[in-house]
């Protein structure tokens, strides 16, 4: 009973504070379509802070924007020299690593987000990857390698200071999605923080889908692999026969 009362009191005290500032945001695209000439995409994320009262405290408001692709399990392998050649020897499993992950902030990440908030909301790149310790002794090296390789391919991005925040009210940023996107529901998050603590969170899903020919081919290949294989062969044979016929026609 006392615990309930205490938590109610806490809620009452906290509630007006948490609701004093809220984030309203939008994305420039409702969905991303992977078409035949898809070459990556750029999404613009913008929004404003709605206030019921004048901003509390001295600490400035900060904005963090994350876009996360569907998480997938991955295997990270390490090469080692065996019999004079470089061979994959050790491997570590990562239970769920986002296929794409971008973090943009209005200032250095460690200044705008406390460690505990990061732990809870999984904002920074290492935290967004879920790795359970396996038999491999240096799991850390493998996760670091995963981040390094995906960062090189622009699949993981940390853009500190990339969010423009005007007069503590209006903000916008753009995130570049590379061409090799994996299909699925992407999740855009906008976090409003003050003094490292999260004030409000806004979430929106961003579906990424193959469309048109891409969709047809992909679905056929996975759902009717035999028909797809036969179709590939028919195309190849027709093309081979056609080429031979055309060139014979040209020569005569």
């Amino acid at each position: 009973m006392r615990a309930l009362l205490a938590s109610l009191l806490l809620l009452l005290l906290a509630a007006p504070d948490a609701r004093a500032e809220r984030v309203v945001a939008g994305l420039s695209q409702e969905a991303i379509s992977i078409t035949t000439n898809f070459d990556g995409s750029e999404i613009l994320i913008f929004g404003a802070v709605r206030r019921e009262a004048p901003p509390p405290g001295q600490e400035p408001l900060q904005v963090i924007v994350t876009v996360q692709g569907p998480p997938r399990p991955v295997t990270v392998r390490r090469k080692d020299r065996r019999f004079g050649i470089w061979v994959n020897t050790e491997a570590a499993e990562v239970d769920a690593a986002p296929t794409f992950y971008a973090v943009s902030t209005s200032a250095a990440l460690e200044d705008v987000l406390s460690d505990t908030a990061d732990l809870r909301l999984r904002v920074s790149i290492p935290r967004a990857i879920r790795a359970v310790d396996t038999a491999v002794t240096d799991q850390r090296a493998f996760t670091d390698a995963l981040i390094r390789i995906r960062s090189d391919g622009a699949l993981y991005q940390l853009n500190e200071g990339a969010v423009t925040f005007r007069q503590q009210t209006l903000f916008d940023t753009s995130i570049r999605l590379p061409a090799n996107l994996v299909e699925g529901d992407y999740r855009a998050r906008i976090l409003l923080t003050r003094g490292g603590e999260v004030v409000d969170v806004f979430e929106q899903t961003l579906p990424v889908r193959k469309v048109g020919l891409e969709r047809i081919i992909y679905t056929l290949a996975h759902e009717r692999p035999l028909i797809y294989g036969i179709l590939s062969l028919v195309i190849a044979i027709v093309a081979g026969w056609g080429a031979s016929a055309i060139f014979r026609y040209i020569r005569t």
Partner: protein
């Protein structure tokens, strides 16, 4: 113009693919080889996942071999009976090869296996071809050393049972060696994403003793079936055949092959073979360096295979 490949799930320049197809097509037309052994490593270099490169290249080889075999059928330079025996062996080999490929993909060693196969076979074939053509050129220069030693040293092969008559080739030999050659080449075709002509042709000439004029046609005939079968198996087991990639490569390939044939006619056979040998050795060397030198990135990411 960038194009997104639906199965490989990467975006590449369409003209680059057309150009690669054309370039390899020219070379294959010039030298009368399938070009798979050049195309598959080139696809690795431009960032196509190895599994997709191997499966798709098998599909493309069907197209170029079909185009080639039509010409040979008209000239009656295909030994259909021998081709069928080789094909039967090839189908067994390809079926096994696709399973080996799937197993090694899971173990994360497929890259290594494919590269090792390339280095070993390209190395051997390249060296053999190189020295053979050097000898041929030297022979041509000094007429005293004419008359190449006609070695018919297939002694123990003649003693094997199950003899069969191959009329077009003018042979009466056991079916075991052609079957074995078929299995072996089928296995390599599935693992390396090649037609295997570069192994099949020497094996037919030196091991089976087939007359040179029927060798290329017969090899193409059986390659169609073996790579066609490998394509189907890859499509069903590994879902790695990329239709869009295959179409782009074969458009470039068939045009290139026609140009290459014209160039090839104007060159001397020995010169052609030396050039081909050097090219084979260059590809082999490039792949060997990747295995021998310490890679810049020791780690690699593999997708843990989600069940289908």
């Amino acid at each position: 113009m960038q194009i997104y490949l639906p199965i490989a799930e990467v975006s590449v320049n369409a003209f680059l693919l057309l150009g690669l197809g054309g370039l390899v097509g020219v070379l294959s037309g010039m030298f009368g080889v399938g070009g798979g052994f050049l195309m598959t490593p080139l696809l690795f270099f431009i960032g196509i996942p190895p599994a997709v490169a191997v499966a798709t290249e098998a599909n493309q080889i069907v197209a170029s071999s079909f185009s080639g075999v039509l010409a040979h059928l008209r000239r009656k330079t295909v030994d259909l009976k021998m081709g069928t025996v080789l094909m039967l062996g090839g189908l067994v080999g390809a079926a096994a090869g696709v399973q080996v490929f799937a197993l090694l993909t899971e173990l994360g060693q497929v890259d290594l296996l494919v590269r090792l196969c390339y280095v070993v076979f390209l190395g051997i074939i390249g060296m053999l071809m190189f020295f053979e053509s050097l000898r041929a050129i030297r022979r041509a220069r000094s007429p005293d050393a004419a008359l190449p030693p006609k070695r018919r040293g297939r002694g123990w092969l003649q003693k094997l049972p199950f003899k069969m008559r191959f009329r077009t080739s003018g042979l009466y030999i056991s079916v075991i060696p052609p079957l074995a050659v078929g299995v072996f080449v089928g296995l390599l075709a599935a693992i390396m994403g090649v037609g295997g002509g570069f192994i099949m042709v020497p094996a037919m000439i030196y091991l089976l003793g087939m007359p040179t004029k029927v060798v290329v046609g017969t090899s193409l005939f059986q390659i169609i079936f073996v790579t066609g079968f490998a394509t189907l198996m890859h499509a069903v087991t590994n879902y790695t055949v990329d239709m869009v990639l295959a179409v782009l490569l074969l458009i470039g390939g068939v045009i290139g092959a026609q140009i290459g044939t014209r160039i090839g006619v104007k060159m001397k056979a020995e010169q052609l073979r030396i050039l081909l040998a050097l090219m084979v050795l260059a590809v082999c060397g490039r792949l060997a360096l990747d295995l021998l030198l310490e890679p810049a990135e020791l780690y690699s990411i593999g997708t843990a295979r989600a069940g289908h």
